[in-house]
Structure formats: C-alpha cells, structure tokens
C-alpha cells in the first residue's frame, strides 16, 4: 500500500508539465534551487525534531546551557547563516536564470507571445516573414530564446515548466523570459495566472526543432 501511495505521489514528478523534469538550463536551475531548498529544510527539520526528541527523552539534556544561549544559538546563530547561504544561492541562480543560461544577448533568438483570453499567439520577428502561430510555439533547440510576453486583456502568466520559470503577461507592458531547450522535442505550456472561466484550457505546446528544421517548421524558405 505504501509502495502504491509513493508511486502515485512520485507520478506528479514527471510528465509534460513537470518542473522537476527539466529540459533546459533555466528549468534545471529552478529544479536545482528546489532540491537545495528541500534538502536544507529537511536537514533543519530533522535537527529541530531531534533536539525536541532528546529534550523529551532526556530531561536533563541542555540544562547546562543557559536559556539566553539557547535563544541566541537557536534563534540567531543557526538560522541567520543558513538564511544568508540560501538567499545568496537563490540570487546567483536568479541571475543565471535571467540570462537563460548565461548566453550573451546577441546570440538570442527572439519570439513574441501574446496572451489573450484564452489562447496564446506567437510571432517570430527575427524571420523576414514574421509568421504567426496560435497555440504552438516553435523554437530552435540548443539556442537561447528570448520570449517577449504581453497580453491584450487581463494578466496571464506564461509558463513552460520543463524549460523555464513563469513570467506575467501584463496588458500594455512587455516582459521578457529567456529559455533554452537542450534537445528537439515537444514541451507543454500553460497559463499560470487565473484569468477567467477558460483559464484551465489556456495551454499551448512548444515544438523545439533541430536548427536545420526550424525555418521549415515556420513555413519559411531557408536562405541558400
């Protein structure tokens, strides 16, 4: 029964919308942060529960240490360095994430995502024809893509869990998200901000193509 329960719970860690199954550096950075935070919180939980257990089982434990020392050690000396370490690790990962995996700006492939109740439209300003696709975003695999996200009506949130974090789509404002798919494939995307009755169905697909297939996928003649 425990095995069944465990298998059911772990099933949530995979699939098309699993942030724990990253397929690019941005999503991998987020997943890494999650594992680091989980490990740190598990260790702290075990430490606190261990001390509680020892204090219950051995009432004389720790009496030689003054109350003031317990408060200073448990309330300041222990949490502050951990908080510092986790915060600066998060800053470092955030900077990495912001650049879509450390790529220089001139190497970016630019696409535009327009959220509208309740679908996503995509445009490709780097291509001469600037085609539009609806519900499917085409990207080249192995290249960092900068998605310029906006909305025509309410606030949406653009999210491809296996490739990057979320970014809000705000009416009248453009926000930017950088991501990369390491390998060609299909990845699920979903609006992650409740935007009305059609919110649950406001999903899309990302098709990551090999470099040589990208132009053809957009219906563009490749330059000779």
């Amino acid at each position: 029964m425990l095995f069944g329960l465990g298998a059911t719970l772990l099933a949530g860690c995979t699939g098309d919308l699993s942030a724990l199954d990253p397929a690019g550096p941005s999503a991998a950075s987020i997943a890494r942060l999650w594992w680091v935070m989980l490990a740190a919180s598990a260790l702290l939980f075990l430490l606190v529960m261990g001390l509680l257990f020892v204090a219950i089982m051995f009432p004389h434990f720790g009496r030689r240490i003054s109350q003031r020392s317990w408060i200073l050690a448990g309330g300041l000396a222990l949490p502050i360095p951990i908080l510092f370490a986790l915060t600066f690790y998060a800053f470092w990962q955030g900077e990495y994430l912001l650049r879509g995996g450390g790529t220089e700006a001139e190497e970016l492939v630019r696409v535009e995502a327009l959220g509208t109740r309740w679908q996503w439209q995509f445009r490709y300003p780097d291509t001469a024809e600037n085609p539009t696709t609806s519900g499917v975003l085409h990207i080249p695999a192995g290249r960092t893509v900068e998605v310029a996200v906006t909305s025509t009506d309410v606030i949406h949130s653009f999210w491809i869990p296996r490739l990057a974090g979320k970014i809000d789509a705000v009416p009248g404002h453009v926000t930017y998200l950088r991501l990369r798919a390491d390998r060609p494939g299909r990845y699920g995307g979903q609006c992650a901000e409740y935007c009305g009755t059609g919110h649950a169905g406001m999903n899309f697909e990302v098709h990551a193509h090999a470099e040589e297939d990208y132009a053809a996928a957009l219906g563009i003649e490749k330059a000779p």
Binding site: E95, L98, R110
Partner: protein, 116 residues
Amino acid sequence: MTIHPIIYIIAGFLFWSALFLLFYGVQATGCHLAGDNVSALGEHPVLRSVLIGLLLLSIAAGIGPFLRARKRRAERQPADDTAQFVREVGGYVWLAAAIAIPFSFGGVAWLTLCGT
C-alpha cells in the same frame, strides 16, 4: 517628545515596509525611464547609483533610532519593568530593521536591475 513604546515598535516594521515600496518604485520607474531596450540586459549606472545612495541613507536612517533608544535607556531610569521591556523590544525591532535593510535591498548594488 516621548513616543509611545508600542508606536515605536510598530514604526520599525512600517519603516522597513515603506522602504520596500520605495525601492520597488524607484527601480521600476528607473527601468521604465530607461526605455524599451531592457531586453538587452544592459547596465544602468545612473539608476544603480541612485539605488545605492538610497540604500546608504536607509541604513543610516534605520540605525539612528536604535542608537537613540540605547542612549535614552542608559540615561533614564524607566518607570517600571514593563515599560523598560517594551522599550527594549522596540530598540531591537529597529536593530532588526537596520540589519534587514542591507540584507533585503543590498542586491541593488550587484544584481541585474532591469531585463524582465
């Protein structure tokens, strides 16, 4: 003028919250004024200088009330234990605010300011 200790305690939290709004507003407005070219993840030296100046002022403004509270405590005999305790808590709240300011807002010195 004597400030009621409860007001003194609450003021430490309010001070930090007001700074949060201020930093957020200055950064967002600065990025907006920087123009549409934010996607290039460029440097914004003027905005960064303004934010660092604001950070230094905030740290000074946060430490001041804590030091004043310490001085007052050393000079004056409190009316009773409760009043002394509440004043002491107020002083530590301001100390916590002064420490939280560089921790929370120090990122303006080196983190990317615009670009999302």
